[in-house]
Subunit: 215 residues, 2 copies
């Protein structure tokens, strides 16, 4: 079975899927999407790859799938990895959903607005508001990780792989590991896993280019 | 088994779980959370009910679970309803995740900022920015529903129950069914289901009160 992932380096959601497949030693091929040139928003991409106009997109012989959390579940079903055991599966899913709703959604937008938009187009009020929401989400995660090595259970799960993604990127968006000791320790646990790689080592970078929308 | 749902009427995420349990004819009891008085953000609630400080929270004899998408999956596992068949299960999950990331997240914040905050505290720039993101998400849903009765497959699934929730609320937040004919038809399909009830008929309203954060 051929497994392709439409992605680009700056895409936090793409990194979640790319990291999971890499850690699970799956055979997969990245397909570069020139996001900042608008490729993911193009009529051709929307019609033939993903109507949602987003990355990542997983394409196998059997299915085409988007949304990183759904791709993570597919990887779990394929490999038996990262899904948790017993009722942990619900805990893993709730943290993946929380990440999509409260953490990565804010961090991704902040990183885009503060780094991939021309300075004159950066909306200060929106950035300030979003940083407040991001800080509230980071506080929830920091408190949960107190005394824990992993978000759910005793080993790495999709909860970790989803929540961690934006936190490894170098572009400034208001997150400093030194301010969050439990998150810092947890990020070190993940990057110490055999086979871990940084997003820019797994996927081709698409920036610079004319930004169209946040990843 | 006793099934309790910590919720309040204005909570779109709570409505997703309440509606699914109601349509599935499950035996459940709503537990009112005085959200606008800060109950969900209180140390007691965070410690004893939900560290994420959010509603809904499902409490059964076996588990406590938050995040509407995770509760919807639990309802599917309990009843066999709304999960889709075969690879549809991934399609259902991806739309639930998309809703949490791109649709309900924007609509919930807009409704809060435009209705539950005192007028003098409403951030105009944030509202304008968020309305742009909400409109983009509604365009994606409107296009997908062209020629479809349901988001995934041939019957109602968690994809529909997740995406529809905020769209039944009366408070103005920039959505008019008349502007979105496919969404309008789809919302009528859902509300025509046997046992369907409006959120304010399923859960006790918590507003007015001093707002603390969007639902």
């Amino acid at each position: 079975m051929t497994t392709k992932l439409y992605c680009f380096g700056e895409s936090g959601p793409s990194y979640k899927a790319a990291l999971a497949m890499t850690l699970a030693r799956m055979d997969w091929t990245p397909v570069f999407v020139d996001f900042f040139a608008g490729e993911a928003r193009s009529p051709d991409f929307r019609q033939n790859v993903n109507a949602m106009g987003e990355c990542p997109v997983l394409v196998t012989d059997e299915l085409t799938l988007t949304q990183s959390g759904a791709i993570l579940q597919w990887i779990t079903d394929q490999t038996g990895r990262f899904g948790g055991v017993g009722t942990e599966t619900y805990e893993v899913l709730r943290w993946v959903l929380w990440d999509n709703h409260k953490l990565s959604s804010q961090l991704g937008m902040l990183r885009f607005l503060m780094n991939f938009l021309p300075p004159e187009r950066r909306p200060g009020a929106v950035i300030e508001f979003t940083q407040g929401r991001a800080k509230a989400a980071l506080k929830t995660l920091e408190a949960h990780l107190d005394g824990r090595d992993w978000i759910v259970g005793q080993e790495v799960t999709n909860a970790d792989l989803s929540c961690c993604s934006y936190l490894y990127y170098p572009e400034p968006f208001g997150f400093d590991r030194a301010d969050w000791p439990n998150i810092d320790r947890w990020l070190s646990n993940i990057s110490a896993l055999p086979g871990w790689r940084h997003p820019y080592d797994l996927m081709t970078r698409a920036f610079p280019g004319p930004p169209k929308e946040e990843t």
